[in-house]
């Protein structure tokens, strides 16, 4: 990884099956000093954001991947050069390695000192306010808002004590159009506004930044001087749209990595699977009664709320045993079935803007208490952003529960590469025809829930899915213990 002169910063592996990551934000810029393990940049997969600590100490000599770009795991993102190797600071480490690090011996160290000063001139624009500001205290709330919006607090004019950036300052900054321009210096729109002072640094070997496209009309032809295919296909289209000027009453906010992930996944799923949704009405009387029986004990003894979802999840996992093709995957020309169920639970984030599907591994091992506990745990961690990368991987079937707001039916989208998703809806008291002890039809008031199975008709047929739903209903309607 590291030569004696330079340390390479690479895109880390964030979970076993993650193959690529997106650079969200560089916390250090070229020329900045960075300590060992100090946060250097923020990266993101489609579900999890994290900071990358610096693998070495020194000066950031080159940044090779721009913010917003998606690259494979292992790609070199930046180079860190020991301070002695760049500057002429003689007092730092006058020992052997430094002399070895001087230009004659290692060729890699040659471009490093050059690279450092070069990107500096273009940064003069946004930086003046950053100067003193960046060194003052950043309060917890400002740090959080800055991280959420990808804003450098050092660029925000501060009105607090000693020029400190207050919560109001940063909120006002984000609200203003200024912030959009200042935080996205690499966007082509910056060129349109200031053609004289290009903000994009010198193109580096791996830099994905597309060449400036001054004419927004040319939608078909690739930009004439585009040297390489961009690493991530999205920016081009997205940037075209940002050329549309805002009119009064419109406001704009940057899209989070999660939103991009959801967007891409939803579209791809509809393009992949042949979605069909079947619905069944379930009399939940016995589940309601069973829940009442265990609720107090679960809550006081275990601190767990036995939600209806945990009953349904348990019944679903049991039913999936008999219907392996609902818990399956189409892999190329083959059909893969499993003896286990990794159950995804769709969780909406607290603000209603964002969706994540944490996975309960080996859900077939769980009893009702375990299921209730696991669902509560992953939901809480999803909402507090404490999920680990592997928590969102490897699902084989998913349940989504949009009924909390009273909706009684829906057609969810399958989480790829799965072939089924169960939807549960509002539990509603309805007049229901049942038989009395004499076998006569009578109308009773029963708690009814609509449950849907959305399946990939490429693999699962209507009869098979109907039988699955029938058995699931039977399990719930005859719930014992």
């Amino acid at each position: 990884m590291a030569t004696r002169t330079q340390t390479e910063v690479v895109m880390p592996q964030m979970g076993v099956s993650v193959s690529e990551g997106t650079v969200i934000k560089w916390l250090k810029q070229v020329g900045d000093h960075v300590a060992l393990d100090e946060p250097l940049l923020e990266i993101s997969t489609d579900k999890v954001d994290t900071e990358v600590p610096s693998p070495g100490e020194g000066i950031v000599s080159q940044i090779l991947v721009e913010e917003g770009a998606t690259v494979d795991v292992g790609t070199i993102l930046a180079l860190i050069t020991p301070e002695g190797a760049i500057g002429a600071t003689p007092e730092s480490e006058p020992v052997a390695p430094v002399t070895e690090a001087s230009p004659p011996t290692t060729p890699e160290s040659v471009p490093a000192p050059r690279a450092a000063p070069e990107p500096q001139p273009p940064r003069v624009g946004p930086q003046p306010e950053a100067g003193d500001n960046g060194k003052t205290f950043v309060s917890p709330v400002v740090a959080r808002i800055a991280a959420e919006h990808g804003v450098d607090p050092g660029r925000v004019p501060g009105t607090g004590a000693g020029g400190r950036v207050t919560k109001k300052d940063i909120l006002a900054f984000i609200a203003s159009d200024e912030s959009m321009k200042a935080t996205e210096p690499a966007r082509p729109e910056a060129h349109v506004e200031e053609p004289a002072a290009p903000v994009v640094p010198e193109p580096q070997p791996a830099a994905p930044a597309p060449a400036p496209t001054p004419e927004p009309v040319a939608a078909v032809a690739p930009p004439p001087e585009a040297p390489k295919a961009p690493v991530s296909p999205q920016p081009v289209a997205a940037d075209r749209l940002t050329d549309v000027p805002l009119i009064a009453g419109e406001s704009v906010e940057p899209m989070t990595a999660m939103r991009r992930g959801v967007m891409e996944h939803m579209r791809r799923s509809l393009d992949t699977s042949a979605h069909v949704t079947s619905a069944i009405e379930v009399d939940m009387s016995k589940v309601v009664a069973a829940r009442e029986r265990v609720k107090a004990e679960y809550q006081t003894t275990y601190g767990v709320n036995p939600t209806y979802l945990s009953f349904i999840a348990l019944a679903t996992v049991e039913t999936l045993r008999d219907y392996p093709w609902v818990n399956a995957e189409i892999r190329g020309e083959s059909i893969v079935t499993r003896q286990f169920v990794n159950l995804g639970i769709a969780v909406a984030l607290a603000d209603g803007k964002g969706l994540i599907v944490p996975v309960i591994k080996h859900a077939e091992d769980l009893n009702l208490l375990g299921m209730a506990r696991q669902i509560a745990d992953i939901a809480e961690r999803a909402r507090t952003k404490k999920l680990l990368p592997d928590d969102v991987q490897g699902g084989t079937f998913t349940i989504t529960n949009p009924g909390g707001f009273g909706t009684f039916h829906g057609t969810p989208i399958i989480s790829q590469p799965q072939v089924g998703i169960l939807g549960t809806y509002a539990l509603v008291k309805r007049p229901w025809v049942v038989q009395d002890e004499l076998g006569n039809d009578v109308i009773a008031i029963r708690p009814i829930m609509n449950i849907t199975l959305t399946y990939d008709h490429r693999l699962v047929d209507g009869a098979y899915s109907g039988q699955f739903l029938r058995d699931l209903r039977e399990r719930l309607e005859s719930w014992e213990d």
Binding site: S139, P140, V141, V142, A143, R144, G160, A161, R164, T166, K167
Partner: protein, 324 residues
């Protein structure tokens, strides 16, 4: 709705409960013939007789221990300490027996201790204290500190209904100064639900008791500075309404915890620590406390004024937070 003083509201609430529930009775020093040191139970002995309005010997131990025994036998005693300061005489019975009985033996002790507390009238070190935090620290006790007449009545009714020992801190400074609308009908004010006394956007003040009014006057002063202050009146310390407090902090991001009790180990420390634990990433300034200094309450009026947080002290702290 009729307007009543804080004292009348407590008196009415107590009388209503005694008329409604024969298990409710009053005991304390001079609560009968004399009607209580502050006249909360004036006329009670005439209406309910000497066995339901009992003049006790000058022994807080006997009052709290007697109330505990009566509660064990199914009664709902409401005991008055002439001054909250004197409750320390009954510490052992309250803390060792009443607070722990439910845990030890499973038998509830539904007693209410009415505790006239607080300073502001040169009462000196034995007649001016706010010892709520000492008891908030004892598991098994509930601690109530109403600030308005309406809450005083509703919380007293809740305290009588509650199966646990409840310390009901009545601020003496509010007794006849504060008036407000109080429903004539019986009602309860739930424990653990704070009240937004004043809605604001910039700085949150968490407080209770008489300090609600100090905070309110300070907030009015800051209107001129264009600083909008939210005041959360906790109403009950045990249990306390964390969610309302944390929501307010999430909104304003700057917070002042204000109490008349002394600073070190005061209940404000618990609130500040909880805020730091739960909503650290919403803070835009250090949590600030304004409280009495760590010394006994002075007799001398100017010294007492220096001791009890004043409107200007609170306004200065709020300005400091707003400017941070």
């Amino acid at each position: 709705m009729p307007e009543k003083t804080y004292l009348q509201a407590i008196s009415d609430g107590l009388r209503q409960e005694m008329r409604r529930d024969p298990r409710v009775f009053v005991l304390g020093e001079d609560v009968g013939v004399y009607g209580g040191a502050f006249k909360v139970t004036l006329g009670f002995q005439e209406e309910f007789g000497p066995w339901r309005v009992i003049d006790m010997p000058l022994s807080e131990t006997a009052i709290v221990a007697g109330a505990t025994g009566a509660a064990l036998m199914g009664m709902r005693p409401v005991a008055e300490m002439q001054f909250a300061d004197f409750v320390s005489c009954a510490w052992d019975h309250l803390v060792t027996v009443a607070a722990k009985q439910r845990y030890r033996a499973g038998t509830p002790i539904p007693i209410v201790l009415r505790l006239p507390s607080g300073g502001g009238f040169s009462g000196g070190p034995f007649h001016s204290q706010n010892p709520e935090s000492s008891f908030a620290h004892i598991p098994g006790l509930k601690v109530v500190c109403p600030s308005t007449p309406e809450d005083a009545k509703g919380l007293l009714v809740s305290a009588i209904e509650d199966p646990n020992p409840v310390l009901f801190f009545e601020h003496k400074h509010l007794y006849r100064r504060i008036k407000g609308d109080v429903p004539d009908d019986r009602y309860t004010t739930p424990f653990g639900e704070a009240r937004i006394h004043r809605a604001g956007e910039d700085v949150t003040v968490i407080t209770w008791g008489a300090m609600v009014y100090t905070a309110d006057a300070a907030a009015a002063k800051l209107e001129g500075d264009d600083v909008s202050v939210e005041i959360v009146d906790l109403r009950t310390l045990i249990p306390w309404d964390r969610e309302t407090v944390l929501d307010s902090v999430r909104k304003c991001s700057k917070v002042l915890v204000l109490h008349e009790d002394t600073r070190t180990g005061g209940f404000g420390a618990e609130i500040a620590a909880t805020i730091a634990e739960e909503v650290f990433e919403h803070l835009d300034a250090p949590v600030k406390r304004v409280a009495a200094p760590d010394c006994p309450v002075p007799f001398s009026p100017p010294l007492e004024k220096a001791f009890i947080p004043q409107v200007d002290d609170v306004a200065a702290a709020l300005r400091e937070l707003a400017a941070y």
